[in-house]
Every structure is written in C-alpha cells, then in structure tokens.
Amino acid sequence: MNATTKCVAAVLLSLILLFVTFGGRSSAQTARGGTDIAVVIHPETPVNDLTLSEVRQVLLGERQYWNAKLPVVLLIRAPVARERDVVLRVIYQMTEAQFKQYWVAKIFRAEAASPPKIVYSNDMQYELVSGIPGAIAFMDARNVRPGLKILRVDGHLPGDKDYPLH
C-alpha cells in the first residue's frame, strides 16, 4: 500500500507541477487608463470625505449604515463597465469571480441581507443615487450630473493628481 500511496502523491505533485509549468492561458491585462471614477452619493447623505480604506469598508459591507437611521445602499455597474473594473481592481482588489464569491459568502455568513444592486447605465445610476437616500455609486467623472454629491477620497476630488480611483 505504501507504493500505492507514493504513486497517488506523485500523481498529485506532478499535476501541480504540470499546471505551474505549462499554464497556458495567462490572464490578459487590459490597458488601464482613462478618466477618474467619482464616488457619488445621495445629496442628503451626511458624509463628504472618506479615506480609501473607509470606502473599501463601505463596499465590503463592513459599514452598512451612514448613521443609525440611514442604511448604505450599494450600487455597482454591471460587468464589463469600466467603473466596475476600477472598483474591483482598486477597492475590492478582487477578480470578478472573487467578487461574486465574496458576496455569496457575505450573505451566507448572515453579515448582509443582499448584495450590491446592479445598475446598467449611467442614467439608471444617476436616477437611483439621486432617488434613494443612502445610495452610493461609482461613475465616470465626466458623466456626473447635478443633483449628486461627489465624495472626496483621501481628501481628493476626481481630477486631482493624487485621486486614487482611475
């Protein structure tokens, strides 16, 4: 049986080495660039400035209330939108699969009742953020319209040299 055990272990190790050595499809890095992504909130939300780690805390669902009466309503663009790419890359630091798994686990752990709401266009995003108290969303700074409040992140607004979301 010892020989069989060694055989099984050898198969496992060989497989791992095979995958490591001949991993064919590398994840293509898309060219980054473009304009800043603004963090926009409902105008009556009592927040003006957050650090990047505080924004992360909100997006991870670790901060679920702006205050005792106002819950956070997370809005995130549907997959492939640039805003979503930036949010996943800079804030969540997750791949699309990891992001989905994160929220399945978060709800399963009874830490949140629902995942972020998906929005499909800037118009929809604008309507929801301006219409739902406590809503927070991410949009291309060029598309921000009147009626929304733009948050400073680490003390910077979109367009500033050290603004982190781009």
Binding site: M1, T5, V8, A9, V11, L12, F19, V20, G23, G24, R25, A28, A38, P43, T51, S53, E54, E62, Q64, N67, A68, P71, P79, V80, A81, Q93, T95, E96, A97, K100, Q101, V104, A105, I107, F108, R109, A110, A113, S114, K117, S121, N122, E127, L128, S130, I132, A141, N143, V144, R145, P146, G147, L148, K149, I150, R152, L157, P158, G159, D160
Partner: protein, 421 residues
C-alpha cells in the same frame, strides 16, 4: 486503487471539458465593453439633445456637486428644465423597481458530491452525497433580517433534515446588532466563516477541530448574540458577545429544546481587520459553559485565537483552541489543544481557476480527559481546487493522518465537486 486513479482521470478530463465550454471568450467581453461604451455615448447625446430647448434654465441643482478642479464638467451641468422634468418623470419607476420590498426572501443552495478511498482497514471506497444546504435570507424591514440554514444529510436509512441556523437580527447601527436563534458558535474563524457550504471553503473538509458533528468545540449555539464594529480607527475591531444554552446531553449537539442545566453558556469573540493590511484578520475568543453528563458537572473554558490572510495570493488560515474541563466534584482539570495551519495560493494561470493548498492539523486530548473521547490527530492534506465556473469547483485531495499512538497511519484520496445554486 487503480480504479480510483481511473475515476480521478475521468473526472479531471470532464472538468477540463467543462472549463473549455464555460470560459467566456475574450472577444465577446470586448464586444460587450464596446457596446456599453456606445450606450454611454448615446446617453450623453440624448442628454445634450434634451438640454437644447431650454439653454437658459437655472443650474440650481449643480450646487450640490462640489467643485472638482481639472475635472471636465458633465455635459448635463446646464441641466435644462425639460431634461430635469424628464428625469423626475422616469425616476420613480426606476427607483421603485430597485426599492427593497419586505419580506424579500432570497434562497441559495449549496451542494457537493464526494468520492473517498482510503487504506484504512474495514473502510470501503465509493461516492457519497455531501450535504444539500439551503440558505435563506430575508429582510423583514430596513433593520430586521432573518437568516436560516437547513441541511439535508444522506444516511444509510434515508435523509435527515437539520436546522443549522435560524436567526432573526435587529440592526440598530454598525456598532450594535442584536439577534436571537441558533448560530454557529463564534469561536475562532472557520466555524463562522464557511458554515456548511463546501463550495465556500478551499478544501474538501473542515479541520477536525471544527468538524460538523464533532465535539472539540461546540459547533452550534442557541441563545442571543450582540455583535458589531468597535470604534477603533484603523484597527478595525469587531465583536460578538452571546449568551445561550451550552452543549446538550449529547455533547456534539446544542440544547435546541432547552438547556440540560440551569447554567447558561456565554461566548465572547473579538477580532481585528486592520485597515492598513486589507485581507488580514486576527482575533481571540472565549467560551464558558457548565456541562452536565450522567449526573456529573464539568466547567468548560475554551480559549481560541486565529490569524488569517483572506486574499488568495496567498491564502493563510491558522487557528488554535484550548479546551479546559474541570470536574466540579473532584476539581480534576484537563486541557486539550487543537490547531491547524492552511496555506493556499491562487495560481495566475488558467484564468486563475487553480488553487493548490496544504493543511496541517493537530489535536491532542490527554488520557485523563473526562468529557469527550480521545481525539488525537496528526494529519496533513495536500490538494488542488479547480474552479470550473464562478459557482462550481472541483477538488482533489490526498490525506495522510494518524490518530492514536497505536493506530496505523491512514492514507486517502478524496474528490469533491462542490457548487452553489
């Protein structure tokens, strides 16, 4: 064993085919991106056109947008009255659609199918159905939420149904959330991080110290729990404090239908997720109970600590627990220890679908232990997790373990496909 290897080969081949079929083509993603960009361009154009008939309208709403130096102003900044009316007319419909309705029940299922073959004398190899796990979450109001978890477990004579968690929670704010029900006891990390969903955990099985149906720590807890964040700046502290029925007369089970003595168990757990080190979590827990077994009382103290790095490059989980039992009558005290260390790494190739892992675990119970039977274990597992899709994974593991001094070392090959739906 040759048959086992054949099955392994067939499953691996099937997984490869599944991957080939499920991988989204890069070209398609690029096309979607281009279409989305086009939609945005059209949206901007529509906004411009809608704004044209009333170019002299006021821009009062723009005052809510703080000045953004060097930021190109949005095309809609001189929002015309017509455009504004249009938005107002459309807004309720969209907002109404996205508004939360109560109750809003969401159901998610988890399942797994396993194969096991070991060289343990008397054991047989074969397939078995893992747990079919249904998870329910329903917001009852803005601040009240229900969570439930029900499992269906295959048994030789049929299936058993178990209510694993049954919780109603009131959120006052982020710092205070109060709930009542049946929980996974917040001792350590694993027990409250992965629950019964095999798909969520990297490995096929839970560490022995938190095994479902095990006795080393009380896996379940019935009572109430207060939890929340602690204002602590960058330290990112959170807590759980609970009081409830402790272990039942069957020591692996909680007192679902009532405690078996007049002493309530309590648990306190504190953990930190430092903001500076995103992905790091460290924490400590204490659990206190009085156990009554065949008329004899024992005081139980469990202390636990954990350190985890939840990112997958690498993933690192380490947890330690000490269980102290003191007989009330004789004052005889025993200490049992258990720990595990698990390391995984999400490889950058194959669209990050592969994650090899290793876990070492150790449990020691002294011969004088009076509450539970000997649980000594020294074991290692080595395996690979392959994510077939975003919601299904295939895992293969080699395990090597040894229980007591007189027991033989056991080798085994384990396969699992785990999924959520």
């Amino acid at each position: 064993m040759v048959r086992t290897l054949t099955i392994f080969g067939v499953l691996l081949l099937a997984a490869g085919v599944a991957d080939a079929q499920s991988s989204p083509p890069t070209e398609q993603a690029e096309q979607i991106r281009l279409l989305l960009e086009r939609v945005q361009q059209l949206e901007r154009r529509v906004t411009e056109l809608e704004a044209r008939p009333a170019p002299t309208a006021t821009v009062s709403a723009a005052s809510e947008v703080p000045a953004a130096p060097q930021t190109p102003q949005p095309q809609a900044a001189p929002a015309g009255t017509l455009a504004h009316e249009h938005d107002v007319q459309e807004q309720p419909a969209t907002v109404q659609q996205m508004e939360q309705h109560y109750p809003s029940l969401q159901i998610r299922g988890f399942g797994d199918v396993d194969f096991a073959a070991t060289d343990q004398k008397g054991s047989t190899s074969g397939f078995n159905l893992g747990q079919l796990d249904l998870h329910l979450a329903s917001a009852l109001s803005r601040k009240v939420t229900y969570f439930g978890e029900i499992t269906f477990n295959a048994q030789p004579t049929g299936y058993t149904v178990e209510v694993e968690r049954n919780i109603i929670r009131y959120d006052y704010n982020d710092y205070f959330k109060l709930s009542f029900g049946r929980y996974h006891t917040p001792i350590g990390y694993w027990n409250t991080a992965f629950h019964h969903g095999a798909w969520l955990q990297t490995t096929i099985s839970r560490p022995d110290m938190v095994r479902i149906g095990g006795t080393f720590i009380p896996v379940h807890f019935v009572g109430f729990l207060a939890e929340g964040n602690i204002p602590s700046g960058g330290a990112g502290l959170s807590y759980n404090v609970g009081v409830g029925n402790g272990r039942g007369s069957i020591i692996s089970r909680p007192g679902d239908a009532g405690d078996d003595n007049n002493n309530r168990a309590w648990v306190a757990n504190i953990y930190s997720r430092p903001r500076r080190f995103y992905g790091l979590q460290l924490g400590a827990s204490v659990y206190r109970d009085k156990i009554t077994l065949v008329g004899r009382d024992f005081r139980e103290w469990i202390t636990s600590a954990h350190l985890v790095w939840t990112k997958e490059t690498p993933e690192f989980l380490a947890e330690f627990a000490n269980v102290n039992h003191r007989a009330v009558l004789t004052d005889l005290s025993t200490n049992s220890q258990a720990f595990y260390v698990q390391l995984g790494y999400r490889l950058p190739w194959f669209e990050r679908t592969l994650k090899p892992y290793y876990r070492f675990e150790y449990t020691h119970t002294p011969l004088s232990e009076q509450v539970f039977s000997n649980q000594d274990l020294v074991g290692s597992i080595l395996g690979v997790r392959y994510d077939i899709s975003n919601y299904a994974a295939f895992k293969i593991e080699y395990r090597n373990s040894k229980r007591g001094i007189a027991d033989p070392r056991v080798n085994g090959l384990f396969l699992q496909t785990a999924f959520t739906f």
